[in-house]
Amino acid sequence: MTTIRIPTPLRAYTNSQAEVPVAGATVGAALADLTGRHPALKPHLYNDSGELRAFVNVFLNDEDVRHLQGAATPVKDSDRLMIVPSIAGGRR
């Protein structure tokens, strides 16, 4: 399973888990599995239109998925995803 690393302020919504194993063949599917397991995360990650909020960055092995194929970016079992608030821009 792919692992998603959770930033400290969101661990209140993942039963304090710092890493959550998820299923899914794409970044979008992996995130959907995450919010399915922990529904309280959803309003923190997505806006009302169902898009990732502007300040939320998702990295696949240290690469911003917006610079890959976004939600359609394929993921493998050995991959690690990381959710990071873009406190001013995030990593590029």
């Binding site: 923190h44 960055n57 990381m82 608030p85 406190i87 001013a88 590029r92």
Partner: protein, 315 residues
């Protein structure tokens, strides 16, 4: 308009040390975003990007350096160490360096690329802490570094150092009283270390206890308001006293982003995200008033956020 010889005279008169340029920032009246309010309600921005390193942090940085030097805790053989999300580090780098002190910083790896580029340009030694842990992670890392090498570092500790809020007590507060001819009725500021609100707020209350203080916080633990803390879930700064503010105002990241666009496009003010959050809160306060003078502190300008994607959103 200045003619050329007069300009030369004026330029010569400003040949002063960098530290002398800290503070005395302008107070700018916001007229466009307040067009729906009566003329008797005035809203002002304290434009802190006019400080030499570009943010409000020059005030606490200078006072922390001067106080520690005067007390003998910061000496030329020690390196000033602190954690920062960026602006305080840039202020230390600018002021400590110009006063002859070395600087080491711990900064979260997700600080903006602009901030990291500025710190690199200033030649500062910094280590990056986990992007998952934000400014609290940087704080813990700096504490550990200070404890491991007590002889090498002066740990400035902006979150617990009273010289932080005292800088505002002796500068920001009196400036606002003077610039409003004592008419200020409300002061609005974001909470990060809380130094701005604690120091300015105490100075304003000492001048007139009826002046109301509004503290601005993110609406949730996970947010994009650079430099601001969600106090209920973050490491609480030692200098923070929750009882001082008369009111707590929470602001969503998206509301601050929308306000940053309005400030840029309607007021011609290219501000940072925390300044925009302060403007959102100031408008909420002002909209309840029939008359009043509301001052919001704008910590920095928008240049360090230029790479953010929210500037191009439609509304």
């Amino acid at each position: 308009m200045l003619t050329l010889p007069q300009f030369r005279v004026a330029a010569a008169a400003t040949n002063v040390a960098l530290a002398d340029l800290v503070g005395h920032t302008p107070l700018i009246r916001l007229r466009q975003i307040t067009a729906h309010l009566p003329e008797s309600v005035e809203v002002y921005a304290k434009a802190e990007w006019y400080n030499p390193s570009g943010s409000v942090k020059d005030r606490p940085a200078l006072n922390i350096i001067r106080t520690a030097a005067a007390e003998g805790r910061l000496t030329p053989d020690k390196t000033l160490l602190d954690s920062t999300s960026g602006n305080m580090g840039i202020a230390y780098a600018t002021l400590a360096r110009s006063l002859g002190y070395r600087v080491k910083l711990v900064i979260p790896a997700n600080a903006s690329p602009e901030r990291l580029a500025i710190l690199s340009a200033l030649g500062v030694d910094f280590v990056k802490s986990s992007p998952l842990e934000g400014s609290d992670g940087a704080l813990h890392a700096a504490r550990e570094l200070a404890a491991a090498h007590p002889d090498a570092y002066f740990y400035a500790n902006q979150y617990d150092n009273p010289a932080n809020w005292l800088a505002h007590y002796y500068s920001t507060g009196p400036e606002i009283i003077e610039q409003t001819d004592g008419r200020v009725t409300h002061f609005v500021a974001g909470l990060g270390t809380s130094g701005t609100l604690m120091g300015t707020g105490r100075a304003l209350k000492a001048y007139n206890p009826l002046i109301q203080l509004a503290a601005v916080q993110p609406d949730a633990p996970f947010h994009g308001l650079e430099g601001l803390k969600h106090m209920a879930t973050a490491v609480r700064p030692g200098i923070y006293d929750r009882r001082l503010a008369d009111e707590q105002v929470t602001v969503a990241t998206e509301a601050a982003h929308a306000m940053a666009r309005r400030l840029a496009r309607e007021e011609g003010l290219f501000t940072g995200v925390s300044a925009a959050a302060a403007a959102v809160a100031a408008l909420r306060v002002a909209e309840r008033l029939e008359a009043g003078v509301v001052v919001a502190l704008f910590p920095d300008a928008g240049h360090k956020y230029a790479s953010e994607r929210f500037w191009n959103d439609v509304c």
